[in-house]
Symmetry: C2
Subunit: 213 residues, 2 copies
Amino acid sequence: MKVIALLSGGIDSTTLLYHLLAKKHKVIAVSFNYGQRHKKELEYAKKVCQKLKVEQKVVNLSSLKELLHGSALTTPKVEVPAGHYTDATMKATVVPNRNMIFLSIAGGYAVAEKADMLAIAVHAGDHPIYPDCRPQFIESFLKALNLGNYHQVKVYAPYLNKTKTEIVQEGLKLGIDYEKETWSCYVGAKRPCGKCGTCVEREEALALAKRGR
Amino acid sequence: MKVIALLSGGIDSTTLLYHLLAKKHKVIAVSFNYGQRHKKELEYAKKVCQKLKVEQKVVNLSSLKELLHGSALTTPKVEVPAGHYTDATMKATVVPNRNMIFLSIAGGYAVAEKADMLAIAVHAGDHPIYPDCRPQFIESFLKALNLGNYHQVKVYAPYLNKTKTEIVQEGLKLGIDYEKETWSCYVGAKRPCGKCGTCVEREEALALAKRGR
């Protein structure tokens, strides 16, 4: 099947890309530059597409940075909170309507390409803080997408109810070298800060997955 | 109330802007450059905002032109069809998922601004050809938007079941000079072509409204 897959350059969407290729789908990856603090993730997304010989479109949404203000990821003066991903303080990293914007653009592209599916790597660990990663949102988005277009597309979100550890376990089996092939840290420095929510979650998932839990 | 209003520079959204100001709302207009053939409409949108002293954000989505291909509005080699707006040939002017992309971005902005409403000028004449202008789509989009965000927004689409003639009748009462203040033609030449669907519809609505029908 022809699949348009969202690819940030992080653990989840990189695993999804490997997953789709293992299933022999014809994949086009779509990545977004929305003025995010951790633009570094895009270098990783590009490299993994080159390695896997996957066509990639990078959409320049940098003019959205001004509009989607207030988040630690788009507004430099808002600090990236330290701590666990599920802490209430992590709400500072919510970017207004981000997934709907990404899915709408990728959905339009899927319609133009007459693709069968739109793939996104949202997972259970995202649900507490990010409302646009919850099953109800994904289902509702899909309904609107198909009401708004002649060509009908399915949404493929195989990790919707999985944990990040389960995603990493799958990825390790698929041969992903997470250290080399993915980027998570929100702070956007040369090296991962080790303290922000996504760094903490990343280390936890990698450790747990390696211990086989 | 604080309202984020989509403004293309055409008859419908310009009337909506006047309508919102007449109701004393605090309005921010959002316009999109998506590589449309008739970019000229954006000049009209800008001028009317200057005249009415309305803050306007112009979002640069020109990188979407490549993705949302196949439409006469984004792909130069696809000709703009002549004829009536409701003709099946007008399907060539459908841009994949356009309204969902625009509404998602404006919706994200509305959330960031903690606005009360998101306003869009879709009308009954759009329904036959453009699925993303139909009431079911608008309703479904709104549900997804509010599931995906903490701040809740209403969608205001007062023309959803009105004809373009009724819109123009309202606009004439509000003092709009449609010839000077709006642009419709899809072809994107210096002067309106007079033959494309939106030119035909425009002339028809202006003539009927002036005859008071």
